[in-house]
Symmetry: C2
């Protein structure tokens, strides 16, 4: 049985639907993967996330390494047992979090929180990046910790995820081409060490994805993608800096999937950390199989709810004063657990103002339901050869959930 | 149709089972009433609370008066519509909260946070207690507010609760007999004003309960109970100081229900703010029909879970270090949404340490499930003439849920 069983291809793009066959079950692709960063989908239970239509969640190697520690999770039966999620789990490698502490983010840079350039001066949290690995301070106890490619593999093996990701340096947007090139080469040496560790240690039921870096430089990104795709790792994730804006991000992803289509079309492709509505549509067109992103859960906890309104980036802010008297659900005819129970924008506005937990939960449920229906629409659209129409409808503000059935 | 339809009486105590017939449905008594203080059961949705077996929740007049304000709730269809709870709601009068700001609590006194005596020196929040009502500062905006008996009635009418409570001064334990006597007399004058307001204003579907004060003084408590029970208010709540310890509290409640049994046996009886496991058992024996208490939900949010262990006050603290490796549910064979899904003490310990919302929710669900099963046991025990045995079993540490069926 192939890792990815491709079932339909869109004639007008690289989009494809299929099934990822993993140790804990199947994932219908293209799929969005909600975050269970610290071993819980914040405010929800696993059965609720499964009921929304999700087949896989993402656990965070960095956070779980620091607390409760991978040994405790192993002792308690692995991450599936620990968090009571019996379907597939993908774990990131920890690279993104380790390096975020030192590099900062594009957002930091745009907001002036750090100067661009060559990240030779590390912030306090990163103590050193060496060929062997990275030394950093724990945000929990301030103690010095070390993570090497082998550490990341050991932790992910202890967690027992279905998909492990190779340990990489996630280069941010503001670094130079020269730094990106050197870093990407080191990421490739780290990938070899991850593959070697994974081959030498029993990790039943776990597959390893490589990660394509190379920044926003076309030759580097294409070469890096070809390089990692040609290793024995059976899946590929696209990571690192994808650009300063959406057109550049789509272009960078297109370089990567263009290379993947040439050298390893059968390997499943994960796009790391991307999940805005328009990004999911474009990502599917570019041939991405799985996506993870904090957006729907994180914005939900801050009172932002997803609605089919492209002009407002598909979101409304329930905390705004103009919501106070709005006696309507977040979305009309929405089947999510919040809207279908009749909770109104006015009530949610009040709950957010009163710092009531139920508000965070209801909007998180709504947002994840919205994305789940969008992904179901996109899968159905590819299967029925209507992706162009469905994608156009989503971009024009169609509500998710009815598109696929209308197109079918 | 009688407000309270008594169905069974225990031959050995004042315990009784029945049905409270309210505008939004029936409440099986004796019943525990979970708190929906600010119009939400913290972290849960109404459908979940109903699924646990609860027929009624308690909304807080004081908090909802300050935010979002009763006029907004009325505009949005009343409290049932606003919070999407379609079964009965009881609202307290606001008296307890208004006076708590000035009097402090027994707990404050025991912990030395304020001196006992005559509360002539008010804390900053209460600006004045007068015959007309109480002036106080809003904890939300610092603005001066006024609540009179008529205000409380107006707010509760706007909220549209099934049961409104009369506005009273909730006298604390540390005040003198003289203060208690004067205060109780004023509370009776306020009750007359509440009854008058309620008779003069249309409040369809809402019944008014009087409140018995009188502190811990037998003659005052008995007289106050007789007085309020003989008004036209069709139900009676027992409030105010119930003593310094459980024996005294049970004695004070017994004076009240003894009087009620003599002068108004048909009127339903609510015991305000009491809900420990042993208190519920004793309260049922003393003839209480409904109880409300913050305990199960509040302690749940702080990591305390209810277990059938009288020696530990029926609770375990999941935040303690000794829980770190305990790969077992809160309770064996517990049908609650947390235990039945297999979440372990070790996992919940970790989640509380990581400040994850799901932890608060799961333990709240467990605790409310525990209390719901206990109350079902007690109802079944009264109905089958086995209350003495069931009460003894609960006090000896029997798990709730199996008792009633075993006794039947």
């Amino acid at each position: 049985m192939a890792l990815l069983d491709v079932q339909h291809r869109d004639p007008g793009s690289l989009a494809r639907t299929g099934v990822l066959n993993l140790a804990h079950g199947q994932v219908r692709t293209p799929a969005f993967v909600p975050l269970a960063t610290k071993g819980t989908i914040k405010g929800l239970e696993p059965r609720e996330v499964a009921a929304l239509g999700y087949d896989m969640v993402l656990g965070n190697t960095f956070h779980l390494f620091l607390a409760p520690g991978e040994e405790l999770v192993r002792e308690l039966g692995g991450l599936h047992e620990f968090m009571r999620w019996q379907a597939p789990i993908i774990t990131d490698s920890g690279g993104f979090q380790v390096f975020s502490m030192g590099h900062g983010t594009v957002a930091d840079e745009i907001k002036g929180r750090r100067a661009p350039g060559n990240p030779t001066e590390r912030s306090g949290a990163i103590l050193g990046i060496e060929e062997e690995g990275v030394r950093f301070r724990s945000y929990i106890d301030g103690g010095e910790r070390f993570m090497a490619p082998e550490t990341s593999m050991e932790v992910q093996a202890a967690l027992g995820s279905d998909i492990a990701l190779a340990f990489d340096e996630c280069t941010p947007f503001h670094v130079t081409r020269e730094y990106t090139e050197r870093s990407t080469e080191r990421t490739h040496r780290w990938l070899d060490r991850c593959i070697a560790w994974h081959e030498q240690h029993p990790t039943p039921g776990q597959v390893l994805y490589s990660i394509s870096q190379g920044g926003v430089y076309e030759d580097l990104r294409r070469a890096a993608t070809r390089h990692v795709a040609q290793t024995t790792a059976p899946g590929v994730a696209i990571g690192g800096s994808l650009g300063a804006d959406k057109p550049q991000m789509y272009e960078v992803v297109s370089w990567a999937t263009d290379e993947l289509e040439k050298v390893a079309p059968e390997k499943p492709r994960h796009l790391l950390g991307i999940g805005e509505i328009d990004d999911l549509v474009r990502g599917v067109e570019l041939g991405i199989d799985t996506f993870d992103c904090a957006m729907p859960t994180r914005i939900g906890r801050h009172g932002m709810a997803l609605v089919p309104d492209p002009a407002r980036r598909w979101r409304i802010d329930l905390t705004k004063g103009r919501m106070k008297h709005v006696n309507e659900p977040i979305m009309d005819d929405c089947p999510c657990p919040a809207c279908s129970e009749g909770f109104t924008r006015a009530y949610l506005h009040y709950l957010f103002g009163a710092h009531e937990l139920t508000a965070l939960r209801l909007v998180t449920l709504h947002n994840l339901s919205f994305i789940a229906r969008l992904m179901a629409d996109l899968r159905a659209a590819v299967a029925t050869g209507t992706l162009a129409e469905v994608a156009a409808a989503v971009r024009a503000g169609a509500a998710p959930g009815a598109l696929a059935s209308a197109a079918a």
